[in-house]
Symmetry: C2
Subunit: 208 residues, 2 copies
DNA sequence: GGTGTTTTGGAGCGCTCGCTCTAGAATGCA
DNA sequence: TGCATTCTAGAGCGAGCGCTCCAAAACACC
């Protein structure tokens, strides 16, 4: 055929994600990207298209390797535990982030989404996936008795999504465990069923 | 003394706020700003300093004329009503925002705060003011019996601050009333006292 | 009116931006 | 070994960036 590509595309994409994630779209130059990716501008454009296209691919990879894997990992947990684990992981990620990069998806939501309909759609879809994860977990938890039935799953899911987004904003300004856990705790506490119903606990705990 | 300034500084500042608010710091050029402000670059630098300094002033004005006035307005309300009003206003502002500008403070939290310690401090201080507003309202509401005592004011305030930030992110991606109200409703519902205590209602309602 | 001081308009500084071009290097296939 | 094809390196395009400079203009004060 022809000369094969010399660089590792996956490694280059990782570097691009890292840079876009830390600096945002506007503040990252194509030269910065090429340097970090260990390739030249020509190779970058040849392999990934223009800057916007590379950003889109980087965001997709970020979502799939970060959020996607997380959500799949929670599938085996009991619904209430899955929600707890989601927020525990979000807090852990926020605290283990000395560069205060936050969540690339949330950054994208404020950085590029408002000015780019296609990327806004992409971000919105991912938010929808998170909301769906919450909604399903809540519905299952309500059925199992581990989550309050006082609100519809949809509404509670929107609430948890809101908390998650707020958490990720807070993390970029005040990455302190107390503040982050404080923001989340009341939301998780409010998921508890109105009456603990200790008699039914051992039964419902099976499905938790 | 000397030649007086020809342009209206307040109007120019308003224009600068509008532009920074809509586009963010990086994506706004000094020429764009000067055009919108109706002045030349020279006048801009003479009157407001460099771009970063202008941004800082714009953010301060935004906070004082937006959030500051709002918080002062809520002071006369009963604590629980003040919190409700705060979120009702936030939602109204988010929906009445065809350009999806969101909240300039939240935009700043993700746009400039992570890369600028001084601005991060400024943003953090304002978040602290919001949290303080919540904390005081909650403490007063707990005393008056209109807000649950199941959690400390500090924690509930952190929670509400998180919800507010999440709301403002959501608004830039999905500015739909249902989604925004859904995110807030469970948080407000969770503020309700555990037992309504109807007997004491007429008494506590005096201080609400 | 003259003087001193500040503002204004506009050109333009050096630099970086996103992106492209060209020449040559490196491969698979005949 | 040639040929076709794709890749890489690096210079460089036009445009825009943040910012500055300078001469002219507009005032307050003597």
């Amino acid at each position: 055929m022809a000369r094969p590509r010399e660089f590792d595309e996956a490694a280059a994409m990782k570097a691009a994600i890292r840079r876009f994630w830390a600096e945002g779209y506007e503040a990252t130059s194509v030269r910065d990207l090429a340097d970090d990716m260990g390739i030249t501008c020509a190779s970058l454009y040849n392999a990934f298209g223009d800057k916007r296209s590379l950003y889109r691919q980087a965001l997709d990879h970020y979502v799939e390797n970060g959020l996607g894997k997380r959500l799949r990992g929670y599938e085996t947990l009991a619904p209430r535990k899955a929600i707890d684990a989601f927020f525990a992981d979000s807090i852990a990620r926020s605290l283990d982030d000395p560069a205060r990069r936050g969540c690339m998806l949330v950054n994208a939501a404020l950085d590029v989404a408002p000015h780019d309909p296609e990327l806004r759609r992409a971000v919105s879809d991912v938010l929808g996936r998170i909301e769906t994860f919450f909604r399903r977990s809540i519905a299952a938890g309500q059925k199992a008795g581990s989550i309050t039935r006082s609100q519809a799953p949809k509404v509670l899911a929107q609430h948890l999504l809101g908390i998650h987004l707020g958490l990720r904003v807070l993390a970029r300004v005040r990455p302190e465990r107390r503040a982050l856990e404080g923001a989340v705790r009341p939301a998780l506490a409010a998921l508890a069923p109105e009456q603990p119903r200790r008699r039914a606990a051992s039964r419902s705990r099976m499905k938790e």
